[in-house]
């Protein structure tokens, strides 16, 4: 594997090709492990526990607070969501102005490296569980910014993405659809990006530090 070259950021061949290794962080308490996809390692939880976990997930899915953070041009597509035409509040999706009180992070479009540092910090300040919705092609492969020197191409390398909404730009309806998927996943306990992030923190950090050359995030978040 070639080393990442900051002078040739568009060279996708320098990007890591393998997915993150498993188990680098201690895992979550048992009640949530029902849905963490590691059933093989632990014994099947009791039914009651599973029921409780289901209820909990239903609560989580029905009250998704979206952090008010617009990263790219997709942010303009978020605004109509709260208008009377789309009205995302009917799904119990209000906005939340502070990461402390929000559950969903919409990465709305391209993400410059500079913004990435802020995004990482905000993301890490959100309480668990938390989800990332990647909006638009830029978050998938860089989109029209594929050869930009300061824009990341693949969001999933830096933050765990739970739902991709493709398009350039996707309409608000697409985003709502994305939310529906997210809510389904949350209810099923499948949306575990936050857990993945915890478990593979070193890997994510390494990736992050590769693009953020002037790494100045204080490490007191964890």
């Amino acid at each position: 594997m070639k080393k990442f070259d900051p002078d040739r950021p568009w060279d996708l061949t320098t990007l890591p090709t393998t997915m993150a290794p498993q188990g680098s962080r201690p895992h979550a308490p048992v009640e949530d492990q029902c849905f963490l996809g590691a059933e093989a390692d632990i014994k099947q939880p009791p039914k009651l526990q599973e029921a409780v976990a289901t209820i909990k997930n239903w609560f989580r899915a029905s009250s998704l607070n979206v952090l008010a953070f617009g990263t790219g041009c997709g942010a303009i597509e978020l605004r109509p969501l709260s208008t009377s035409r789309f009205d995302m509040s009917r799904f119990g999706i209000p906005g939340a102005p502070t990461p402390r009180q929000s559950n969903v992070f919409i990465i709305s479009g391209y993400l410059s490296v500079k913004t990435l540092t802020r995004v990482i910090r905000c993301y890490e300040q959100m309480p668990d569980p938390k989800w990332v919705v990647a909006l638009g092609s830029c978050t998938i492969n860089g989109g029209m910014y594929w050869d930009s020197y300061n824009t990341i191409k693949v969001l999933d390398l830096y933050l765990p993405v739970d739902v991709y909404v493709s398009g350039c730009m996707p309409r608000p309806e697409a985003l709502i659809a994305g939310f529906q998927y997210l809510m389904d996943d949350v209810k099923k306990g499948k949306a575990n990006g936050w857990h993945h992030y915890l478990e593979n923190l070193e890997w994510y950090r390494e990736n992050q530090k590769q693009v953020i050359t002037d790494w100045d995030l204080p490490n007191y978040n964890w």
Partner: protein
């Protein structure tokens, strides 16, 4: 054994003639001979004093030439003469010690002669009863003065001396005209003989003759328009010379005037009194604008002489006791000579150059303040007793209105003397010379006179009942000792003070001094308790106290104990004034306390004089006790009440009179501020309740439709509101608490003004409670200041992590202050609001409630800016406040909590107190339930239990429902993804209430400050204009006597 007083003149004269020969033997010999002579004269006077005092000796009539008066000149030597001669001798002795080290090669052997002759001239002036002989001795004294003022710097002294000679010569001419014609009219020169032979007042020309005589004396006495040269003299001549003159010539001339006044018909009395009083007030007024301390002393001398001249006709009529005037004179001599000597010990010409003077010398500093206290007429110095005597005699003699200018003039003295002292107290900056001149060997006179003033003043108190009180004498004694030994380690001082207070508390407790059902008992407990807490905190021994704090503190506590327990108006006032000056001295011992201290002293002085005025009205009506005030009726009652209440309000910094408070509170030593706020600001409340409202008991007339008590309540309400609002915008923690303190006093004022048992209960409850929580707040903040070294709140922050006990103290303090249940602040407010509602003063009720809401802003501001928010990196390692402070704080917290849970502990005795005061109960207290007489109930204990139960329940709930919790780092905040800037930048504390400020902007002009500033500026403008009459031109100075003669003559007094 008595010595013939003629030797007072003969011996110094003979020695003076021989002195040129002695000086050939050497400097020491001449000085020794001179000193011995002066000591001899002093002994002569002393030998007569005891006999004359107890009446076993008759005054001596001394003949000369072998014949009795009027054939020959005779001298008279009675008590007055003996005292004056003694003073003259002592001053001469002191001046000798002062001047002899300042001689240069030119003056050796010459100035001693002049000093001796000046003293002799004064003796002659004092003793002679012959009019022309009087003139001769006057000339001896004057010529000696003319010559001796050339001592020292020629540049200024010659100029001053020459101008002085010019007017002196005019005075001689006037006097000679008067004497010659008087001789012609009466055929005799003996004053006593002449008195009986004066032609009828209507005799043509007699008035002109007397006018010339009086104007000659006026020049010699340096009364107002003609005192220009004398001022120049104080300014330009050596202070030692001036001190000599004050003790000898000035007193001699004054007594000469006394003798001449015997010849003046009674129709002149008003003119003389007016001239004297105009001089007193005018000179004091002009002194206020004076920037040069020595010239200021000149104005002051002029003023004091004016006062004594004012008294001369009154004493001769028998209206005023001679003792009163005499005490004033003695006081002035001692203090002014001492001040002059001290003024010569420093090179500063202007007040600014006096900055930090005598910083290294305890003796000189102590002496200076003793002299200033004495000359401004504070107890226990003789001037106080003199002034009291004079004022009471004036009231009793029907001259009450003259007391008004007298008090105003005395207040002006406060302004400039403490203005001067302010500079002395201000720490010196490097470019100002603070080195005393002339070593320590010439301090003899200073020390002796300071001691004399103190001892004499205390000796005058010997018959007062206060001397029998063990606790007071004990505390004062220990206090004096500690004041003098103030260079000991602070911990030792604090420990001694604590021990003394503890002992006093024990004595009082065993003697039943803490009977809470009486106001004095309650205040005794408060004073001693707060004193103990402050003393304990003082054991921390660091910068929280000034070096002379502990000694003065004990004296202050003694005075406070006296104040709250006496029934005598005189003693009350003595205690009041002692409290004033001790607290003033403590305030100025703060690092920057000098300037606010001056303001404090001036306002306290004004308050004191208002009280004095009120007391004098009562005394004029024949009542000398506080209980006697209740017998006043009609307009006297109203005026007395008004004066007393205004005085008390001034001292408690009511709205409009509050401008001194923030500075004094915040710049006072950190550990003293709790006491200042907790106790000293309550003393006026005690005064309003226990002194002023003796009168109000029902016979206070209303002014128009406005009830006086309502007016008082309104002032209280405005105080509470205005100062609370002001506190909101403070950046300085102590200033914030200071405004808050004063605002809280407003609640007490309102409570007292309601004049119902419930209102008074509320007020008294608040007195105790405010002491506890405000003391707690001030102490906690003192600890914070001690640790952080700053008072500006936005420079602190996050200290909860470093100083948890202080945080809890402040938390308890502000909850108690805010009146939020369940702490006792609510109980106090509840009582007050119930009382107000029952009284029907709705708008005052609204004002009080609103102020208590506004108070939330500053309370949160205080605790947030200091303890919450971001901890500054530089405070990362500071420690909790010292243990003694923490102990005091914990004790106070215990007190606050006890009051909160069991308010009946205090309310039961208060109820009993109200029963004795009003004959009515304020409350019904069944177990934990308080019920007002109108049936409203409050269950403070139940409230506390309810809140505690709910709190614990919710605490458990939160514990239960909380997911795993992480204590995160300080800067880990949701900062829009940014890395937060340093803690200093994100601690939102500076201009905390900015939007509020904008909203209130039209109401926030510092009206009171502006008002007082405009008062001072306008007065200053007037003074600037008036003092241009002292143009410095000798010719103009000669013109004034002529002008004065013509004006007086045209006024119909001549011809």
């Amino acid at each position: 054994m008595v010595i013939d007083p003629i030797l007072l003149v003969a011996v110094p004269l003979g020695v003076a003639f021989l002195l040129p020969l002695f000086s050939k033997l050497g400097r020491t010999a001449a000085t020794a001979v001179q000193g011995l002579t002066i000591v001899f004269t002093a002994l002569v006077a002393v030998s007569w004093l005891p006999g004359l005092l107890d009446g076993s000796l008759a005054p001596a009539n001394i003949l000369t030439g072998g014949y009795d008066a009027p054939i020959a000149i005779n001298l008279h030597f009675g008590l007055t003469e003996a005292v004056l001669c003694l003073l003259a001798s002592l001053t001469a002795l002191g001046s000798l010690s002062y001047l002899s080290v300042r001689e240069d090669e030119h003056t050796i052997g010459r100035s001693g002669l002049l000093q001796l002759l000046i003293m002799t001239g004064a003796f002659g002036l004092i003793m002679t009863r012959d009019l022309f002989n009087l003139f001769v001795f006057l000339e001896i004294a004057s010529i000696g003065t003319y010559a001796l003022v050339a001592f020292g710097k020629e540049e200024t002294s010659l100029e001053a001396g020459f101008k002085y000679m010019l007017t002196g010569a005019v005075a001689s001419i006037f006097l000679l005209i008067g004497i010659a014609f008087l001789y012609k009219l009466t055929g005799t020169l003996n004053i006593d003989d002449m008195v009986g032979r004066m032609p009828p007042a209507a005799t043509a020309g007699l008035a002109t003759v007397i006018l010339f005589l009086l104007m000659g004396m006026a020049i010699e006495l340096k009364l107002l328009p003609v005192n220009g040269p004398a001022l120049d003299l104080y300014d330009g001549a050596d202070p030692g010379v001036m001190a000599l003159l004050v003790g000898t010539v000035v007193n001699g001339v004054l007594f000469a005037f006394w003798k001449i006044a015997l010849l003046v018909p009674g129709t002149w009395d008003t003119a003389i009194m007016t001239l004297g009083m105009v001089t007193f007030v005018g000179s004091n007024l002009l002194a206020v604008a004076q920037d040069r301390p020595r010239r200021m002393l000149g104005y002051s001398s002029s003023a004091q002489i004016g006062l004594l001249v004012f008294l001369v006709p009154l004493v001769q009529q028998g209206t005023v006791a001679l003792a009163g005037a005499g005490l004033l004179l003695i006081n002035h001599t001692l203090a002014k000579s001492g001040l002059l000597w001290l003024s010569g010990k420093h090179a500063g010409e202007t007040r600014r150059e006096w900055t930090g003077a005598f910083a290294g010398s305890v003796v000189m500093r102590t002496a200076l303040i003793i002299f200033i206290l004495a000359i401004t007429g504070l107890p226990p110095f003789p001037g106080f007793w003199g002034k009291w005597q004079v004022l009471s005699d004036l009231m009793a003699g029907g001259y009450g209105w003259w007391a008004l200018p007298l008090l105003i003039g005395s207040l002006l003295e406060f302004v400039y003397y403490y203005g001067w002292y302010r500079y002395v107290r201000t720490p010196a900056t490097s470019n100002v010379s603070a080195r005393p001149l002339g070593g320590a060997s010439d301090l003899g006179g200073v020390v002796a006179f300071a001691l004399a003033a103190l001892v004499f003043g205390v000796w005058l108190m010997r018959d007062l009942p206060v001397m029998g009180d063990r606790v007071l004498v004990f505390l004062t004694g220990v206090g004096l000792v500690l004041t003098l030994l103030r260079r000991l380690p602070r911990v030792v001082l604090a420990a001694t003070a604590t021990a003394a207070l503890g002992l006093a508390a024990w004595i009082m407790a065993t003697g039943g001094g803490f009977d809470l059902t009486t106001p004095s008992g309650l205040f005794h407990l408060l004073i001693i308790g707060a004193g103990l807490l402050v003393s304990i905190a003082g054991l921390a021994g660091s910068s929280g106290t000034g070096e002379r704090f502990h000694g003065l503190f004990l004296i202050m506590i003694a005075s406070l104990l006296l104040l709250v327990s006496t029934d005598n108006l005189l003693l009350f006032f003595v205690a009041w004034e002692v409290m004033t000056w001790t607290s003033y001295l403590v305030v100025t011992s703060g690092r920057l306390g000098a300037k606010p201290g001056q303001l404090y002293m001036v306002f306290s002085g004004a308050a004191g004089f208002l009280l004095l005025g009120g007391f004098m009205l009562a005394i004029g009506a024949g009542h000398t006790t506080i209980t006697g005030l209740g017998l006043l009726t009609g307009s006297t009652a109203a005026w007395t009440w008004g004066l007393l209440v205004t005085g008390f309000l001034g001292k408690s910094a009511a709205w409009g009179l509050h401008i001194w408070a923030p500075g004094a509170y915040s710049e006072a030593p950190d550990l003293f501020t709790p006491f200042l706020s907790g106790v000293i600001s309550k003393i006026p409340m005690f005064g309003i309740a226990m002194v002023a409202f003796r009168i109000a008991a029902g016979n206070l007339p209303a002014i128009g439709a406005v009830d006086l008590t309502w007016l008082l309540a309104l002032i209280g309400g405005l105080t509470a509101f205005g100062l609370t609002l002001a506190a909101v915008f403070q950046e300085d923690a102590k200033k914030l608490l200071a405004y808050s303190s004063v605002g809280q006093v407003g609640y007490i004022v309102v409570g007292l003004a309601i004049l119902t048992p419930l209102g008074w209960t509320a007020a008294m409850f608040h007195v105790v409670h405010h002491l506890l929580f405000k003391g707690l707040l001030f102490l906690a903040i003192a600890g914070v200041i001690m640790r952080t070294g700053t008072r500006t709140m936005y420079e602190m922050g996050g200290l909860i992590k470093r100083m948890p006990v202080s945080f809890i103290s402040v938390l308890i303090g502000i909850i108690a202050l805010s009146g939020v249940p369940p702490l006792a602040g609510f109980t106090g407010k509840w009582l007050l609001y119930q009382a107000l509602l029952a009284k029907g003063w709705l708008f005052i009720l609204v004002l009080m409630m609103f102020s208590s809401v506004v108070a939330f802003i500053y309370m949160f501001r205080l605790i947030h800016s200091v303890f919450l928010g971001q901890l500054k990196p530089r405070h990362r390692d500071i420690k909790e406040a010292p243990l003694p402070l923490v102990i005091s704080e914990v004790l106070m917290i215990a007190g606050v909590m006890a009051l909160a849970v069991f308010p009946q502990l205090l309310l039961n005795p208060l109820n009993a107190m109200m029963h004795t005061q009003f004959g009515l109960d304020a409350l019904r207290i069944d177990g934990t339930v308080l019920t007002t007489m109108s049936g409203h109930t409050l269950n403070a204990t139940g409230m506390m239990v309810l809140v505690l139960v709910m709190f614990v329940a919710m605490f458990l709930v939160l514990l239960l429902v909380s997911p795993p919790m992480r204590k995160i780092r300080q800067l880990d905040i949701g900062f829009a993804g940014e890395v937060p800037p340093p803690a200093e930048e994100i601690h939102f504390a500076s201009r905390f209430a900015q939007p509020y400020e904008r909203a209130w902007a039209p109401f926030l002009k510092p009206r009171a400050t502006n008002f007082w500033r405009s008062v001072t500026e306008n007065t200053g403008g007037v003074i600037e204009a008036v003092r241009k009459i002292y143009s410095g031109n000798g010719q103009t100075y000669v013109l004034y006597p002529v002008l004065l003669v013509v004006v007086f003559a045209l006024l119909g007094l001549g011809r």
